[in-house]
Every structure is written in C-alpha cells, then in structure tokens.
C-alpha cells in the first residue's frame, strides 16, 4: 500500500521541473516533452504500420509454417504413437501366438511321441517274436547238426579204434593165415 502511495506521489509531482546531471532542464523528471512525445508516438505508429504491412505477412507466413510444422510434428508423434500402439498390440498378439504355437508344437510332439512309442513297441514285439523263432530254429538246426557231428565223430573214433585194435591184433601168424586164406580162396575160384 505504501508503494502505491509513493507511486501516486511521484506521478503527482511530474510537473515539477527537473534538471539532470548534465545540466539540462526538463518539465518532468519522467515524462518527455510534448512534442517529443507526439513525434515519438507518430514514429512508433509509422514503424508499427510498416511492420504490419511489410513484415506482417512474412511473420504470419512463418508463424503459419511453424504452426504447420509443429502440427505436423504433433501429427507424426500421434502417428508414431498409434504405430507403436499397433506394434505393441502386434507384439502382444505375436507373443500370444508364440505361446499358442509352442503349445501346439508340444501337443504335436506328445502325439508323435505316443505314436512312435506305440509303433516302436509293436515293432519291438514283432522283432522279439522273430528272433525267438529264429533262435528256436537255430537251436533245432544246431541240435540236428550236433547229433550228425556226434555220430560222425563216433564213427571216426570207432573206425580209428577198430583199425588200431586190428593192426595190433594181427601178428605174423594171423598174417600168414590171411595170406593162406586168400590164396585158397583165389585158387578155388575160376
């Protein structure tokens, strides 16, 4: 409040002549002279008019361009935001799709594994049955072969033993008897 009062006092005292440090005396310490005020106002008006006339369109055009540029940037930002949102939606959707694909693949793998297991089990059972049949056949063959080989071996050993026994049992007397028997037999035949 005291400040307003003080300003009022200053204005009230404007008509008081004032002399500055260079010794120039004016009618008011704040207001210029009337003529100077008039010229100044006129010059300012002229300058403003000229500015309005000549610089105004350029300024207006620049401001319009700036507005348009800012608007474009705002639109671009909005577009980017929309794109980002769309992309985010796509990513979220893709993420969901990946999960579904993973689930589908896992389900497929489980189905295939089950099928392979069933198939492998069946094939294994078939192979086991075939191997068993082959083994039984081999056993039968080996049994027959062993019997044949055993018979052959017995025959071989028997003949060897017989030959040895005969050779050892034939003494000179037996030799002579065999020779005489041969001569008599051949002589008797004609």
């Amino acid at each position: 409040m005291s400040a307003l009062i003080r300003i009022a006092h200053l204005i009230a005292s404007e008509k008081t002549p004032h002399q500055d440090s260079e010794g120039i005396t004016t009618s008011s310490w704040i207001w210029p002279e009337k003529a100077e005020l008039i010229y100044g106002v006129a010059a300012s008006l002229i300058i403003f008019a000229m500015l309005f006339k000549f610089a105004g369109p350029a300024i207006k055009k620049g401001m319009s361009a700036r507005t348009a540029r800012i608007q474009k940037e705002l639109d671009d930002a909005a577009g980017d935001k929309a794109s980002a949102q769309t992309e985010a939606i796509g990513i979220r959707q893709a993420k969901g799709d990946i999960g579904a694909e993973r689930d589908r693949l896992l389900a497929d793998a489980a189905v295939q594994a089950g099928a392979m297991l069933t198939d492998g089990r069946g094939r294994l059972e078939t192979e086991v049955a075939e191997m068993k049949a082959r083994a039984l056949a081999d056993i039968e063959t080996a049994r027959g072969r062993s019997a044949d080989e055993l018979r052959g071996e017995i025959a071989r050993l028997s003949s060897t033993a017989a030959e040895r026994a005969v050779a050892e049992s034939i003494d000179d007397s037996t030799h002579q008897d065999l020779i005489e028997a041969f001569i008599q037999k051949v002589g008797a035949s004609s």
């Binding site: 003949s159 017989a162 050779a167 065999l178 020779i179 001569i183 037999k185 051949v186 002589g187």
Partner: protein
Amino acid sequence: MSNARIEGYARALFEIARAEGSLDEVEDELFRFARSYEGSEALRTALTDDMIPAGKRQAIVEDLLGGKATSTTTQLVSMVVGSGRGRELPAIIDQLVARASSAKNLEVAEVRSAVALTSDQQTRLTAALANATGKQVNLKVVVDPSVLGGIVATVGDTVIDGSVRTRLDQLKARL
C-alpha cells in the same frame, strides 16, 4: 614225357637187362624200386629236383640200391635219373615190366601185402591167380603196410581184394 619217349626208355632198359641175362631179376628189382619211389615223397623230390646236379642224384641212387640190387638195376635207374627223367621212372619201369611179361606171354599181377610172401606162397599165389583169371601171370609183390593184413591182387583190370584195410573201410562206410 610222351608215350613214345617212355616206350623208348622202357625198350632200352629191357634190351640192356636182357642182354645182361638178368631180365627177370632186374625187372623185379625195378618194379619194387618204382613202388618205393611212388610211396616216398622225399625220394621223388631228391631224384627230380633240377637244382640238384645230375651226378648228385645218381649218387643218391647208387647209395640206395648199392648192395641191395644188381649192378644192372642200379645203373639203369642211375641212367634214367641222370638223364633228367626221374619223374617218368615209374611209368618207364611199368612199361618195361609189361614188355617183359608180354615177351613171356604173361600178364603182370601186382600183389600188395602187409608182409613179404615166401617163395612157396608166391608160387601158389601165381597158380591161384592163373586159375582165377585164366591167364599166366608175372607176379610182382609189393610190401605195403597200409594193407594191414591179407592181399590185394591186380591183374589187368581185375582186382581181387582180400585186405583187412578194405574190410575196415567197408566197416567205416557202414558206420
């Protein structure tokens, strides 16, 4: 060796033995040597090896037959071996025996026995074979232990087998 060459050597040996007047004895010794030769791989190798000089092969023959056979037999075998015809020696000797038998109108009878036959047994066996085959035979006895016992007689294409070996083989076949 061609048959003609074997025949040539056999004829030469035959004529030499006959000229020496010991055909029967030489023929018999050669026949037995031929069988020994056939039965001994070591002897065959020694007498047919071209890497052994002919003189060395003849020395082997003379060592083997010296004192055990007539000198004619030894020299005839030595001559054949020395001339590089050791491989054909059995064929030459068989041809010689056949020729000698033919000259006497006899058929060669090869008799294999596990033990040697006495002179009496040879005489009776010769008569028995002649009776059985209807041919006069020139008996050639070969001692062959593989016969085991008894006798195997071959006259021409006729084989009379009374050997223990054959009976054992028949037994083996039945087993």
